[in-house]
């Protein structure tokens, strides 16, 4: 099935089977392997990307459903190799250890930042993080990085 969309600012056209998940399309067809796949059932949030401005779980969307859409992945954050401010805050606060969940968390936050809705308090930050599972950090450093990013 024909599919045309924009990924990280580049037009993409492909012919894919309907059952191909958006996460697999990004990783296997476009080789954008920064988007990680954890549970593949919508629970862990590792595969979060931005579709038409909204953070979505790319494992719960078929690539054909992104036809005509604008998709942003973690690769778009530091195109020239310089970290985006939120990435930099994560780096300085040691908000990642294995890093597997980080792209999903960052893309969720970037979608919120783009509409001026980044969390400003710790409860708000934890609420937003409820959709992303991190098994290393215990979240505290992530919360610190988010709150610094908002200041």
């Amino acid at each position: 099935m024909k599919l045309a969309c924009t990924v990280n600012g580049e037009p993409v056209a492909a012919d894919v089977p309907p059952r191909l998940l958006l996460s697999d399309f990004l990783r296997h067809e476009l080789k954008l392997t920064g988007t990680n796949v954890g549970c593949e059932m919508g629970v862990c949030g590792a595969c979060t990307v931005i579709v038409d401005g909204e953070p979505v779980r790319s494992c719960l969307m078929f690539a054909v459903q992104a036809d005509g859409s604008t998709v942003r992945t973690i690769e778009s954050l530091a195109p020239d190799g310089r970290l985006a401010p939120l990435q930099d805050a994560f780096h300085r606060h040691h908000a990642l250890q294995c890093g597997f969940c980080t792209p999903g968390i960052l893309m969720t936050l970037i979608a919120l930042a783009d509409r001026g809705a980044l969390p400003r308090t710790e409860p708000e930050a934890r609420e937003v993080l409820s959709g992303n599972i991190c098994r290393c950090t215990g979240y505290q450093a992530i919360v610190d990085a988010i709150l610094e990013g908002t200041r």
Binding site: P18, R19, E54, P55, V64, Q65, T108
Partner: protein, 277 residues
């Protein structure tokens, strides 16, 4: 895991969608946000041969006020209602409950109708629909069918949608001035399905109270429907005890039946206190 192969259609109108659903019968499933359907497909618990994507049908999107009711298009995304102050004024109980539905990354695609049709016993939208006595509008090749949500919610993950039928609209009453609402739930993780959830709405002396997650479908607390008998704390505790005495609660690895019954009592008291005082 990966979903099994299927044929994909993206109709532009309700009529076209119904035509496709009618043609493919039991083989076909509508998909809107996919937040309940796609996990079951990835796990191969569901293997529909045909998906009819209704997410871009404009006539199924959005809500409008129509006299003393609100009509919500079935494919309206949860996030669209959550950010809408006009909707929160019209149906405050649903606006309150939506903050507990999934996460920011699932509400962006998840729809009102999708959650209702899926029929999870602990789902917040189904609980609010039961509390407010929603009316459900289904359409199929042989016409339209309207039914009260109590006849629509048949059991755990079971709702009265025939093959070839499409949920098109949910009708809820507009909250009149002075309406008081409360919604409480306990979940293992914020945004997960509730172990138990309680929704309550009081309009003058009339109370509507339902419990989700306790039984296969939302439980209507008919013994907790008048305000006067419940203002006294002891009387309220007695009424809650009587209401829960006959319940056989769901039990699973997340919570035993006894614990769910205990939670229901606590959350009922919290909600009743909130709407009564």
């Amino acid at each position: 895991m990966k979903p099994a192969a299927f044929e994909y259609f993206r109709p532009a109108s309700i009529d076209e969608a119904i035509d496709l659903l009618d043609r493919h019968g039991e083989e076909a499933r509508p998909i809107a946000g996919g937040q309940s359907l796609v996990p079951t497909m990835n796990l191969r618990l569901a293997t529909p041969a045909v998906l009819v994507d209704i997410s871009r049908i404009a006539a199924l999107q959005g809500w409008r006020r129509d006299g003393d009711v609100v009509r919500i298009g079935a494919a309206t995304r949860q996030a669209a209602l959550l950010g809408d102050s006009g909707f929160a004024a019209a149906v405050p109980l649903l606006a309150m409950a939506l903050t507990h539905v999934g996460h920011v990354q699932t509400r962006s695609r998840g729809t009102i109708g999708g959650s209702l049709v899926h029929g999870d016993p602990a789902a917040e939208i189904g609980l609010v629909a039961a509390t407010l006595d929603a009316e459900i509008v289904l359409r199929g090749a042989r016409g339209e069918r309207r039914l009260p949500v109590r006849d629509f919610q048949l059991g755990a993950l079971a709702t009265d949608v025939a093959a070839g039928e499409l949920l098109v609209e949910i009708i809820l009453p507009v909250a009149v001035a002075g309406t008081r609402c409360a919604f409480r739930e306990l979940a293992r993780r914020r945004g997960d399905f509730a172990l138990v959830a309680v929704a309550a709405q009081r309009t003058y002396d009339r109370l509507a109270v339902c419990i989700g997650g306790l039984e296969a479908v939302p439980r209507r607390c008919t013994g907790l429907s008048t305000r006067l008998a419940l203002e006294d704390l002891d009387a309220r505790a007695d009424a809650i005890g009587r209401e829960l005495a006959s319940v056989t609660p769901l039990a699973d690895l997340h919570a035993s039946g006894d614990y769910r019954r205990h939670l229901a009592a606590v959350l009922l008291e919290d909600c009743l206190r909130e709407v009564l005082t």
